[in-house]
């Protein structure tokens, strides 16, 4: 199956989803990007350079870990985890960012911009920009800047300028809008490093392509380690890049079930979640440059979304998934905030792994389903990131009293220094 073969349909469309919905002023820029991307994709040396860069800089291939303890405890399927948390900067975001960095070099551009929500993508982009010598501006909702200060701190120290976006809900989607506004002004020397498999074509395809390295590695590794293909593959879905990354390794394997895990937030019917496909609240719309399922009201204004995991807290979903959902090729489930906290605790204690809150959504669903499967079945979870960078979020999520005391003490210390 090649979903990127557009010869039968419209370029950039997956069924009725996708497309390019951008102001005319960006037409030439997105064309230039598309042409360059097509060249890169057709050039085996580009991919080779990409893989070498990730190997030498980011530690790829990341391993696959067999969770013997958790499997035993749950008493069902054998659970394996693809460890993209071990990447430099702590998540799969670096894959896409390094790829786009190479492409930006090829475009001859010297400046990059990026949106970020949780900060992972901004952190990765700032890192890439330092490595490639690009000027870098990161747009981040003001609410996120306030709550994700650690990532802002690193981005700034890596040399990026971080702009707190004060529009709208002042979160991820507003940061995307801010990027668009920068891009329509500075497209001549600026490449927009979109962080997930969303946005106008060719971003969904391009980001998916870079992330496909996850699935390529994982398929080979699980065959080697477990002796056969997994029965089910689980990945969390924010925009959909890590999930597309791992799923692509198994698109042609009909007996592998693919399960996308969205943010259930406060649960079904709460309207405080980010489950575009697992719940029934989203409808098709056009925003941020593409057509897909969005959480929006009936007039097309975007709804407020929520997740304990900032990286999943987004209104839209990768258009490819909207299509694959329609086709029944990928099953979508949601994990609630509460389930995520429990699964995180379990995973830490049983296996010594600290998945990012985003990734933990995939663990929740796998943990629910593993016991219903037989012992010789195999589950593969994509651990898209590590949680240890998100200590504030996790300590808040777990409501850790000692942590709060520590922060209080730190604050007193700082205030003392100033007075």
């Amino acid at each position: 199956m090649d979903i990127f073969d557009f010869s039968d349909g419209r370029e950039g469309y997956y069924g009725k989803y996708g497309g390019v919905f951008l102001p005319e002023i960006l037409h030439a820029t997105i064309e230039e990007l598309l042409v360059c991307f097509r060249e890169c994709k057709a050039d085996p040396k580009f991919w080779q350079d990409y893989v070498t860069l990730l190997q030498n800089y980011s530690g790829r291939p990341t391993p696959v870990t067999h969770l013997e303890n958790l499997s035993r405890k749950l008493g069902g399927a054998q659970i394996y985890v693809k460890r993209d948390d071990l990447n430099h900067t702590g998540s799969h975001k670096i894959n896409n960012v390094m790829g786009q960095g190479l492409l930006c070099q090829r475009l001859g551009k010297k400046r990059v911009i990026a949106e970020t929500g949780a900060g992972q993508h901004g952190f990765a982009t700032a890192t890439m920009a330092a490595k490639f010598g690009f000027d870098c501006k990161i747009y981040m909702g003001a609410v996120d800047v306030a709550r994700q200060r650690p990532n802002v701190f690193w981005m700034e120290n890596l040399g990026a300028e971080v702009i707190a976006v004060e529009d709208g809900q002042r979160t991820l989607k507003d940061a995307v809008n801010a990027c668009m506004r920068d891009w329509v002004t500075n497209m001549a020397d600026t490449h927009y490093i979109l962080g997930t498999a969303c946005g106008p074509h060719p971003f969904p395809e391009m980001v998916s392509w870079f992330q496909s390295i996850i699935g390529m590695e994982a398929r080979e590794q699980i065959l080697k380690q477990a002796g056969r293909l997994p029965d089910r593959v689980y990945a969390c879905v924010g925009g959909g890049s890590n999930a597309m990354g791992i799923f692509q390794g198994f698109f042609d394997d009909d007996n592998v079930e693919l399960v996308g895990c969205e943010a259930g937030g406060h649960g079904v019917g709460s309207y405080m979640h980010s489950a575009r496909l697992a719940y029934d609240d989203a409808t098709v719309g056009v925003a941020q440059g593409y057509k897909t399922y969005f959480l929006q009201d009936k007039e097309g204004n975007m709804a407020e979304t929520h997740s304990v995991a900032a990286g999943l807290d987004y209104i839209g979903v990768n258009p490819i998934f909207s299509y694959l959902h329609d086709q029944g090729k990928v099953r979508f489930e949601a994990a609630t905030d509460i389930e995520v906290k429990e699964a995180l605790k379990l995973t830490m204690r049983t296996e010594g792994l600290i998945p990012a809150l985003e990734s933990t959504h995939a663990f929740v669903t796998a943990i629910k389903e593993a016991p219903t499967m037989s012992k010789d079945e195999i589950i593969l979870i994509n651990q898209s990131g590590r949680g240890d960078k998100d200590i504030f979020t996790i300590a808040d999520a777990l409501d850790d009293a000692k942590w709060k005391t520590f922060i209080g003490g730190k604050a007193d210390q700082y205030r003392g220094e100033n007075s």
Partner: protein, 255 residues
């Protein structure tokens, strides 16, 4: 009467028409009406009524804020159409819908064209709906005598301008510079060059917008374009100095 002939007719009396802009429901429909009265008195020829949207990604800060506040105060699509009807009946200038494609998409393109027609609008500007995606909507519009306003930009290649020109009807909107609405544009050779390039690819009237704010800009455009499009500068004046200020702004602009 189509937009093109309306413009032609108005141009008999003055050499540079003016299109103004309000964001429906911001700060309120009452205020909108006041602004429109002033614009009307000043002799504005065409008005864009912007339907507020939660993701106005082609707009600059002032309009972003206006979109946000309008939605916050509960503005609906129904209200916008009702208001448009009122406005188109009351004033002699023509009215365009301006907004983002999701607003159109969610109600359906057929419904949109029909409602626009019913409300007395003569066309629409939907900046995030590119040529490639607009065939169906344009066809429906044509059938209903509604004009889709095409944008031509400084980054458009000649080839692209030719494509855009080929489907232009009513008028085209020449975007004077890169960027979003709201900052000042340096009127100079670049703009003239752009207008000339655009002119080679279309015969419909040409409005020039983005950053027009002064009589000097008007003088610059006179003879080069058919229409000046004034957006942010007017809203900024309204915010800074209210009705009196706005009156003065248009008086000076159109002197």
């Amino acid at each position: 009467m189509g937009l093109e002939s309306y413009i032609a007719e108005r141009k008999q009396h003055k050499d540079l028409l003016v299109m103004a802009h309000v964001v429906c429901g911001y700060p309120s429909f009452e205020a909108n009406m006041q602004e429109l009265e002033i614009m009307h008195e000043a002799g504005v020829d065409l008005v864009e009524l912007q339907f507020p949207f939660s993701e106005p990604s082609a707009d600059g800060p002032l309009f972003v804020h206006a979109n946000e506040q309008s939605l916050k105060s509960g503005t609906t699509v129904d209200q916008c159409f009702d208001f448009m009807k009122l406005v188109s009946e009351r004033f002699s200038f023509k009215v365009l819908m301006m907004g983002y494609y999701n607003t159109v998409f969610k109600m359906g393109e057929e419904v949109f064209v029909q409602r626009l027609k019913e409300a007395g609008g003569v066309g629409y500007i939907v900046p995030d709906l590119p040529l490639e995606e607009s065939a169906h909507l344009h066809a429906l519009s044509e059938a209903a005598d509604i004009e889709p306003i095409i944008l031509m930009t400084p980054t458009s290649s000649d080839k692209r301008l030719a494509q855009l020109g080929a489907i232009s009807r009513g008028m085209v909107y020449v975007v004077a510079r890169k960027g979003v609405t709201g900052s000042k544009t340096n009127m100079g050779d670049d703009v003239i060059g752009l207008i000339e390039r655009c002119r080679q690819h279309t015969s419909v009237p040409m409005g020039v917008g983005f950053g027009i704010s002064s009589k000097a800009d008007m003088d610059f455009l006179r003879g080069n374009a058919d229409m000046a499009i004034v957006g942010t500068a007017a809203l900024q004046t309204w915010e800074d100095s209210g009705a009196e200020g706005l009156k003065k702004f248009f008086a000076e602009l159109m002197a």
